[in-house]
């Protein structure tokens, strides 16, 4: 009886820990919007295209207007010292979203109320040398460093 219960609680604790910790690869605070944090929630690669998904959360007490241009996002391959920019379509629009305006290839600009969140995504080229880690720069947030690609 005791051993069965021990097994039960052990497995339950492991599974709950795994499930609640899932889906956030790295979190960075904003360096300009108080209480705002960005979670890197998913990295996927297909056809040499890297798709990054983020969730911006407002943990502060005040509503915040979060705003940046997708053209100012970039990733760095620190091993090979190269910088890559978001992919852009034939009309000059960055393949990213959601966009509040199409200016300069696309702008993310949304008000996030206290306790709320909002997501965005960006497509980059996979760095040519296939590094194991990259750094990700999103304007208004501290860099996401040493993010594993594999």
């Amino acid at each position: 009886m005791k051993s069965a219960l021990s097994v039960f609680f052990g497995i339950a604790a492991l599974l709950l820990g795994f499930l609640t910790a899932a889906d956030v690869i790295q979190t960075q605070e904003s360096d300009i919007w108080g209480g705002v944090e960005a979670d890197l929630t998913k990295i996927s690669t297909r056809n040499d295209i890297l798709t990054l998904r983020f969730k911006i959360r407002n943990t502060g007490n005040d509503s915040q207007r979060v705003e940046f241009y997708f053209k100012d996002c970039y990733i760095i391959d620190p091993t090979n010292q190269k910088k890559y920019f978001p992919l852009k379509d034939s009309e000059g629009q960055y393949i990213a979203g959601p966009k509040e305006k199409d200016w300069e290839g696309g702008r993310y600009k949304f008000r996030i109320d206290s306790g709320s969140s909002s997501g965005f995504w960006v497509k980059f080229p996979v760095p040519t040398e296939n590094p194991e880690e990259i750094d990700i720069h999103i304007p208004g947030f501290f860099p996401f460093e040493e993010v594993p690609l594999n």
Partner: protein, 215 residues
């Protein structure tokens, strides 16, 4: 034996319940981020267009030797900060945004720059000169008059500000893009809820927005 079996079944059903609960919560979060299905195909075409280096830039580092100009740089920076403060500029990581009341810059229904506006525009010119990156000037109007007329007026006003900055502040014309938004982006109501005129709201809507990119 029976007790052990019941316990095992209880364990399995509990785990299944919690895992499905958390899956639902995660699915709700993922629903917030929707990537259009055509995005991947566009990305494939974009990647092809970049060539083998995929648009990468090699990072290089340059060491600058600065001798004897530190004081000058500090003084210049302080002047720019003072100008930004006077202009009521809003700063983001990537740009400065200045909103100039239309009534200061232009007479009613006109697009020539008023003489009174030159002091304000001189400060705008100083800030723009401190950076090398693009500038966007956006003209806005209130809703009095036809939409097409207001659109044209706002474009002319943005162009006037641009021309002033080129002629008087020596700004390179290639840096400046002008846009007319007419009455389409009000920041205040043009009319009251009962339909009557709202002069104060309309005054706020008559404005010129200047976005100065920092990088």
């Amino acid at each position: 034996m029976r007790v052990k079996t019941i316990l095992c079944l209880l364990t399995i059903s509990t785990l299944l319940f919690w895992s499905s609960t958390f899956s639902c919560l995660n699915a709700l979060d993922e629903e917030e981020i929707t990537i259009p299905p055509e995005a991947h195909q566009k990305a494939i075409e974009a990647l092809k267009a970049l060539g083998p280096e995929r648009g990468s830039l090699k990072l290089t580092y340059k060491v600058l030797t600065i001798e004897g100009i530190t004081k000058g740089l500090t003084a210049r920076s302080e002047n720019i900060q003072a100008a930004l403060k006077d202009l009521g500029a809003e700063e983001t990581e990537t740009d400065y945004r200045i909103e100039l009341p239309g009534d200061i810059i232009f007479d009613f229904d006109k697009w020539d720059i008023r003489e009174d506006a030159e002091k304000t525009l001189t400060k705008v010119g100083e800030v723009i000169s401190a950076y090398e990156h693009p500038v966007i000037i956006i003209g806005h109007t209130d809703s009095k008059g036809s939409e097409s007329y207001n659109l044209e007026l706002s474009k002319k006003r943005a162009e006037s500000v641009k021309q002033w900055l080129i002629d008087q502040a020596g700004i390179d014309s290639k840096r400046i893009e002008t846009i007319g938004r007419g009455e389409n982006e009000p920041v205040a109501p043009n009319t009251n809820p009962d339909g009557s005129d709202n002069p104060e709201g309309r005054q706020k809507n008559r404005r010129v927005e200047i976005i100065i990119r920092k990088k």
